[in-house]
């Protein structure tokens, strides 16, 4: 990763312009060309530094459901349960964490009602309880990383 890659990552985590030639506009701000910017974005996506280039939606405003859920899985059964949970397309992120509640995942669904259905389906398919930890109040969402 060189200085231009870092500049792209640090300056483009928001604020992408909506105009007819947006990459050209961004490239000139970063002191490069449109072709070079497109090539770099493609490479950063290809090598997995970026998971996506595009919009991030607000679930509730879109009419969708979003929640954090946790499960307590015995270590010997963890791999089996991970495979089942991750097979649900509604599971956006899933992390193993160091706690008795050792599996934490985010569910995103097209409707809020669908959250309960997916949780019930995960409980049925895995045989373990799912603890639903929906957001009650948001103090900050500023997921930004300096490269």
């Amino acid at each position: 990763m060189d200085a231009l890659d870092r500049a792209i990552i640090n300056n483009l985590q928001g604020g992408f312009p909506i105009c007819d030639e947006p990459y050209r506009a961004v490239a000139s701000l970063l002191g490069t060309t449109e072709d070079e910017l497109l090539r770099r974005l493609d490479a950063l996506l290809e090598n997995g530094t970026l998971s996506r280039f595009g919009p991030m939606y607000h679930a509730e405003r879109l009419g969708g459901g979003l929640t954090l859920a946790a499960m307590q899985i015995p270590p010997q059964d963890f791999e089996r349960v991970v495979a089942i949970v991750n097979a649900f397309p509604e599971v956006a992120h899933n992390y193993a964490r160091e706690h008795a509640l050792n599996m934490w995942f985010v569910l995103a669904t097209e409707t809020p009602q669908r959250i309960d259905q997916v949780i019930a389906a995960i409980e049925r398919d895995t045989g373990y309880t799912v603890h639903n930890m929906p957001k009650r109040e948001e103090f900050f969402v500023g997921l930004r990383f300096e490269a």
Binding site: Q13, I18, Y23, M133
Partner: protein, 183 residues
Amino acid sequence: MDMSLALQTDRTPLLLDEADRHLLAAIQSGLPLVSRPFAEIGARLGLSEADVMARLQQLQACGVIRRFGVVVRHHEVGYGANAMVVWDVPDEQVRELGRCLAEFDFITLCYRRPRHLPQWRYNLYCMIHGKTREDVMSNLEWMVNRCGLQGLPHEVLFSRRRFKQRGAVYFAEPQAAGSVREG
């Protein structure tokens, strides 16, 4: 009905028309890497470039689109450690402490969530990302002192493995899955 009446407006879905939904679905996995991406999206959907841009500006202005840009895999840019830190805070202090935590630039998410008694007493969550676990712990200590959190029950849940990090998908599409070990 939960207790989050204060969030009523935040949770109210906006009325989107069919074309908006098609547009949001068309770009949810990424914007085309071509000189005129909005023209290309429009061509796929039977909309003009100007119409696509006007709709996206509107969707951004009303908050359906939170932000527009690169979505970084934190592990790949050197943030090898991430911890979810959870606190058991008296209900009447949650808002004040939540706002205090949210001030620090190493905090990337901060939410109030319900307790699940007796198993789970915690009601305030924040996420700390750092290059190493030591970074995360020293940031935590700094934050505890600055916000006066000494003595409040809390736990630090470091991540061990990441199984999936593909972002939310609100419109059905094929999926991919993977696993990455974390520090």
